[in-house]
């Protein structure tokens, strides 16, 4: 079983909540889900959709084809039409007038019934659910059981009215829908999946940061990173976290640098445009060796670009941003499970090496959701790195020269200590100098951190069989679609595997070197136009990836798209 549903309509019509409820019902019934939200940069109108993919096996990417469409507007019916499978169904709210009526169309009084039976148009989601699952012959008992579980916390009244609305549409559809649906789930039982936590990348990063004892978060609203900051600030009071939306991106970053200098774990959230503005203080964090975690949820640029869409186009920008030369770390989690763990690890790396750590997300990773096992906060451990002992008194050697380039930290307010940080070239005690010898020593201090950082980076993960003839090279959120494509090809006995990077900078390249030296053909698959990761790898290792597959239309990769592109380069 691998089904997909597309709920489409205008912004403000509650597309999200229908999609969310549908996802919840299937999760509750024991299935794997993958949900994407596709929306325009506007508050009302336009065409938005939520795509829910459901399977009895884990799924990691959006689908290419749709089995059932629910449309609240004409665009909702027309726009995804070409993706509809043969034998698929389009359920329209009866208010939608469509000229070219097809047998697959079914008009249903979704909003009307929601109001009449449920007492509110908010119940349209239960109505849509009833119609959709009726078309599929999904047992009503299973739907009812799921709805009861989902709404029980909200009280009997909510449960009863949701069930009643769903039932009304379920029965009405059974009676009136005369078309055919290729899929029947009439004999379906509870699915195998026990994972009941529906999670986005944004929320997972927020939870990971909170588990890592983040104490300061500042961010200026910028899609698609805003959800991460909202998740922190929503829980700020409950967990005692300083969080503030300041006047701009620059202030957000400066506040976090100040908070970290004063001893608190600090994070900022932004997208590429905001990161541009933060670059000045990124340099300050680097020069003052103030640990900082930056979450950069990429969207297509340059400039405002496509504000609500996805791309992996900022990799090289982030790797090289700021004047001067200094070490930094970049990590690109592939999914919510990895995002949680990555956020926790980012703080330890930032504080251990006293460098900026950038978590590279993107709109797809940030806002798509899947059901995952319960996240365990005890898995995130806090390591604050080298700290100056209390016995040290007076002016600290905040930038003491050491073998590994890392100096013990202390904070203003530490008893009997004075701590001077400086964005200018400085002596070991933080005070300003222009001395050539000190300059050389301080640059070398930065360089000395690099071997330690390289050692701390995780190697890439090889998926599929070893020694395949073709290796697909991926990073970050491109993992899922490419993994599904690779698995499909492997099932057809094509000799292909996948080498995937989470820790993208500095990258560990030994395994890749081994693969290339053994004669495998390596193909990079990236969500950008210029194969930035392949370039970065070449710069770091001299290894050349000859073949590239690139997606740069602002939409996420899918298995079908990857397969078609691989076919073009002779892998099929």
């Amino acid at each position: 079983m691998d089904l997909s549903f597309n709920i489409g309509g205008a912004a403000g019509q509650g597309i999200d909540t229908i999609g969310d409820l549908l996802t919840q019902v299937f999760v509750k019934a024991g299935f794997y889900t993958f949900t994407i939200k596709d929306y325009e940069s506007r508050i009302r109108g336009g065409y938005n959709f939520t795509q829910v993919r459901v399977s009895d096996r884990p799924v990691f990417a959006p689908a290419d084809e749709i089995d059932v469409i629910v449309a609240l507007t004409l665009e909702g019916a027309v726009n995804p039409r070409k993706q509809l499978v043969k034998g698929g169904v389009i359920i329209l709210d009866e208010s939608v007038e469509i000229e070219d009526r097809e047998p697959c169309h079914f008009s249903a009084p979704l909003e009307k019934t929601a109001k009449e039976i449920g007492g509110s148009d908010k119940m349209t989601n239960a109505a849509a659910l009833g119609a959709l699952l009726s078309v599929l012959n999904f047992p009503f008992s299973l739907l009812e059981e799921s709805l009861r579980g989902i709404f029980q916390k909200k009280g009997d009244k909510v449960v009863t009215s949701n069930v009643a609305v769903a039932k009304a549409l379920y029965d009405l559809t059974s009676e009136k829908f005369k078309g055919t649906c290729k899929t029947s789930l009439s004999s379906i039982e509870k699915g195998p999946c026990k994972d009941r936590l529906i999670m986005t990348g944004n929320t997972a990063i927020a939870l990971g940061a909170m588990a890592a004892n983040v104490k300061w978060a500042s961010a200026y609203p910028m899609s698609p990173s805003t959800g991460m900051f909202q998740d922190i600030i929503t829980n700020a009071q409950r967990l005692t976290i300083g969080a503030l939306q300041p006047e701009d991106e620059i202030a957000a970053m400066c506040m976090a640098v100040g908070a970290s200098y004063a001893g608190a774990r600090s994070i900022v959230a932004t997208s590429g445009g905001g990161f541009c503005l933060k670059v000045e203080s990124l340099g300050l964090a680097a020069m003052t060796e103030t640990p900082i975690v930056i979450y950069e949820a990429q969207r297509p640029g340059p400039s405002t670009g496509l504000p609500t869409r996805t791309e992996q186009g900022d990799l090289l920008f982030v790797a090289f941003a700021s004047q001067g030369e200094f070490p930094r770390i970049m990590i690109a989690p592939k999914d919510p499970v990895e995002a949680f763990e990555t956020a926790g690890r980012a703080f330890n790396l930032a504080e251990y090496f006293q460098v900026p750590v950038i978590i590279m997300g993107d709109q797809f990773m940030a806002e798509s959701s899947m059901n995952i096992p319960r996240l365990d906060v005890t898995k995130i451990q806090v390591d604050r790195g080298k700290l100056e002992p209390p016995e040290t008194q007076g002016l600290c050697l905040r930038y003491r020269l050491t073998d590994d380039g890392i100096s013990p930290r202390s904070f203003p307010g530490d008893k009997g200590k004075i701590v001077v940080a400086n964005g200018n070239l400085h002596f070991e005690n933080g005070h300003i100098t222009e001395d050539a010898g000190v300059r050389k020593a301080m640059v070398e201090k930065f360089l000395k951190k690099v071997p330690g950082i390289r050692a701390a980076m995780r190697p890439p993960t090889l998926y599929g069989k070893k020694n395949a003839k073709t290796t697909l090279l991926t990073w970050g959120s491109s993992w899922g679609a490419v993994y599904e494509a690779m698995s499909t090809l492997a099932g057809r006995h094509v000799s292909v595997n996948q080498l995937h990077y989470c820790d993208v900078y500095p990258p560990k390249t030994e395994l890749l070197r081994d693969i290339i030296e053994k004669g495998a053909r390596v193909i990079s698959v990236e969500g950008n136009a210029t194969s930035q990761f392949a370039s970065l790898v070449r710069m770091e290792s001299g290894l050349t990836v000859e073949t590239h597959v690139n997606k740069y239309d602002g939409r996420p990769l899918t298995r079908g798209w990857v397969l078609s592109k691989l076919k073009e380069v002779g892998v099929a």
Partner: protein
């Protein structure tokens, strides 16, 4: 009380002979030596420019940071450790230029930091270009005659009052006693304190000189200015000609930023440990 000798700067001062900054650093040392604060609980955040070098000429916790950005950095420092008294030393070049937005927002936020603006009308360290506080017509390398600087100066005192700062004053580097008193009040003020410090740049500014100010400054307090009257304070901020008012323009008591943040009831945010069971409960609530 910090013994004044403990505040002795780590480095030799590099400001020009006769610079107005000497009076500022002397007053800062005196003010801190007279206040009841622990040495480790004072932090100076400075910007970039001649004023940015303050941290090296006084022995305090410090960050010598970025042009225009000292105020938001200081805000972060304050939020995570309210035991600290955070003092910001900046110039007119940085805070009235790139940093003007941060300045205004800090004022409306009423964040508990004290901002000391070294105001000399020029970008001194870059060798004498006109700054945002230079008068219209001011002649410098980047504002050649005619017409000199083709714009009016920023009015920092007026902006601070209008913006919501809860302690606003102007002092003159040449009037030590008043400067020390104002600094002490600003440092201990429970909100955003702003002090515009008139400070001649003897090398570059041939207009705003010691003689210029000595002839014009007068004390608002000696003229019984009502510091609780916001409109009066703004009116006084517009007076900058033959007579230049110095002293406290405006003060009020109102909730500061930290009262609106989720800080611990006792102790410093920097030491707070998130209750992991609480976070786990939050996650478990999300499980269907």
């Amino acid at each position: 009380m910090i013994p004044i000798e403990e505040l002795e700067g780590v480095q030799k001062i590099t400001w020009c002979t006769g610079c107005g900054n000497f009076g500022i650093i002397a007053a800062l040392k005196k003010a801190l030596s007279e206040l009841n604060i622990e040495h480790e609980n004072v932090v100076v955040i400075s910007g970039i420019g001649c004023s940015g070098k303050v941290p090296h000429y006084i022995n305090l916790n410090a960050m010598h940071s970025l042009h225009g950005r000292a105020i938001p950095i200081a805000t972060g420092v304050h939020a995570v450790n309210k035991d600290l008294r955070v003092i910001v030393h900046v110039g007119d070049g940085d805070t009235l230029g790139e940093g003007l937005g941060h300045f205004m927002h800090a004022a409306r936020r009423n964040v508990r930091i004290a901002v000391f603006l070294h105001n000399n009308g020029v970008n001194g360290l870059t060798k004498g270009q006109f700054s945002p506080s230079a008068p219209r017509g001011y002649v410098s390398k980047t504002s050649p005659p005619p017409p000199g600087a083709p714009m009016n100066p920023v009015n920092p005192v007026g902006l601070a009052v209008a913006g919501g700062a809860t302690f606003v004053a102007r002092a003159f580097s040449g009037d030590q006693k008043m400067l020390v008193d104002i600094m002490k009040e600003a440092i201990m003020h429970e909100g955003f304190a702003f002090v515009d410090i008139l400070q001649p740049c003897v090398t570059w500014n041939k207009d705003l000189t010691w003689a210029f100010y000595n002839k014009r400054v007068y004390s608002l307090q000696k003229e019984n200015h009502d510091t609780s009257d916001k409109m009066k304070a703004i009116e006084k901020s517009l007076e900058f000609g033959d007579r230049i008012p110095i002293g406290v323009f405006y003060r009020e008591t109102s909730p500061d930023l930290s009262s609106g943040l989720s800080l611990p009831k006792d102790g410093r945010l920097r030491d707070h440990m998130t209750d992991k069971r609480e976070l786990q409960a939050l996650i478990d609530d999300m499980v269907l």
